[in-house]
């Protein structure tokens, strides 16, 4: 393309200059991104109409104002660029992308995505700041997070609804023991026959009360609506808590649980309630699968271990009848007549929201294994705790 190269090197005529200027100005005036030019003292040199519209000021009002007037924490100095976030675009220019908050003339905060690029204007070093309003994107993210949270909550209620009878049993057992110990002691006392039995009865009453309150605490925590916050969680604790909830079902079906969990596993950054729900769902499916086969080997293996990447792997393996035909992750897939399904679509949604995926495969020696990964909590926030 020799022609084009020639047109760049040739000095532009006035007309050409004017056309080019008009062309660029049209773009500058109509682009939806806000564009600010900032001098070396961080004061605003110029802005486009998108900035005026976004912040509710005129260009005149803004010229000469410090850029912090619009974006209080704007990173406009070279030292502000954290090395990790910098991107060298050519030999001289460093571009910084990050998210920030802007303040409009009416005092409203708006979430922004900002790109800062150093340039040279008339021999002076300046900055161009590109500003994009991301309120809609953030809002959409919030809405979908809230929706997942709602679904997760109704999923939990549904799971517990199906487990009512075994959970009530779990609560009723210690209560029955407490009542019987107390009434037996009362009767013996009235008959003047209470001697050696009291100490054991009281010890048992205390222990059984603790047992009942542990069950009710687990339940209360699980029924809670949940604020959908990610926090550092020990996945092994999650496993133990969920096993507590389905202890009765495991016992009822004679299922042996083997826990292959690594003690010094790193903390994962997750929504604990949602992950508990996924684990409960997988374990309950496994229990049902094993119960349905009626075969002798009735094992449930749970494994957690650190992957080479920044993830912790969780595996739930059963000795049931293996995966049924069809897409078990499809929305309305169900092998049960009550239509509650295996809850797998929701589980997958939850795991995907955590940046991983829930997958399943048949084992070579029968049964199925479900696995998923959870993101390890970054070291940075670990050290700040």
């Amino acid at each position: 393309m020799p022609d084009q190269t020639a047109s760049y090197t040739d000095p532009l005529s006035d007309l050409q200059l004017q056309e080019s200027e008009e062309h660029l100005r049209a773009i500058y005036n109509n682009v939806s991104e806000g564009i600010l030019t900032v001098d070396s003292r961080c004061c605003i040199l110029n802005c486009n109409p998108a900035i005026e519209q976004l912040f509710g000021y005129t260009g005149k009002q803004l010229r000469g104002q410090p850029v912090n007037y619009l974006i209080p924490h704007c990173k406009t100095k070279a030292v502000d660029y954290p090395a990790a976030k910098c991107q060298i675009t050519n030999n001289y220019q460093v571009t910084n992308h990050y998210q920030d908050t802007g303040i409009t003339s009416s005092g409203k905060s708006i979430p922004l995505e900002i790109t800062v690029t150093p340039i040279h204007l008339q021999g002076e070093s300046s900055l161009v700041v590109f500003v994009r309003d991301i309120s809609r994107r953030i809002e959409a993210e919030n809405t979908s997070r809230l929706r997942l949270q709602e679904m997760a909550h109704s999923g939990r209620l549904a799971s517990l609804g199906e487990m009512t009878s075994s959970l009530t049993h779990e609560l009723n057992q210690p209560l029955t023991a407490i009542l019987s110990y107390a009434q037996a002691c009362q009767r013996l006392l009235r008959k003047g026959k209470l001697d050696g039995q009291l100490d054991n009865a009281l010890t048992q009453i205390i222990e059984q009360t603790r047992r009942a309150s542990a069950v009710s605490n687990h339940l209360r925590r699980f029924i809670r609506k949940g604020d959908s916050e990610r926090s550092a969680v020990d996945i092994n604790h999650v496993m133990h808590d969920v096993l507590h909830l389905i202890y009765h079902e495991l016992k009822h079906h004679h299922i042996d649980v083997e826990l292959d969990i690594h003690k010094d596993i790193p903390m994962v950054l997750v929504d604990r309630l949602q992950i508990e729900q996924v684990v409960l769902n997988l374990l309950r499916n496994a229990v049902e699968a094993i119960a349905a086969t009626g075969q002798k080997r009735r094992e449930l293996n749970i494994r957690t271990f650190k992957e080479v990447n920044a993830f912790v792997q969780v595996e739930v393996e059963d000795t049931g009848g293996g995966l049924p035909a069809g897409d078990i992750f499809a929305k309305y897939y169900s092998t049960k007549s009550d239509g509650m399904g295996m809850g797998l679509p929701l589980c997958r949604k939850i795991i995907r929201a955590h940046g991983s995926d829930l997958t399943a495969k048949n084992n070579r020696i029968g049964g199925a294994t479900f696995h998923f990964q959870l993101p390890v909590e970054p070291i940075q926030s670990q050290s700040s705790r």
């Binding site: 057992q173 019987s180 037996a184 054991n200």
Partner: protein
Amino acid sequence: MTVESTVFLVDDDPAIRDSLRLLLESEGLRVMDFATAEEFLSHHDPKLPGCLVADLQMPGLSGLELQQHLLGNGVQRPMLFLTGFGSISEAVQAIQGGAVDFLEKPVDAETFLSRVQTALATDRQQRKNQFRQQQMQQQFDTLTPREYEIIARVAVGQANKVIAIELGISERTVELHRSRGMKKLQLRTVAELAKHWNEMQT
């Protein structure tokens, strides 16, 4: 020669077993407890008087299955089932299967003990009836075939005249066998005979 009644207690939860045992012992009752239905069955002697108290929802052989097993082997032992909430349908099945009673956990001491006493009384009554029936059976066994034939007809209400015609013998002969049979059975009235006969047929 009365043997003391025993409460056979079957529950997989050690705290439940221990606490109910204490409660039953506070009433002066003899208790034998078992963690599973299988364990109970392997030690079970149907000849020992007593009743069974079992949890309906147990791992392994459930309360209902235990009941089926005992009934299948002709064991009449009265049963008192303890149920958790929400197992009404199982409880109904248990009752239809002939369980004496069922109680919802947690059980109140007064109710529990009085139901256990009722079950024990039922067991004693059943054993008494059984003993009487056995005795009666032994007495019936002493009858000659002719006496038995005639007594059987008297027991269901046939008149001497009818029996004589049907068997082709004289009314006098019927009367003779009848009075000899009644003497062997130590019975005086036809009503008494009919009652024992009915008991023996069931």
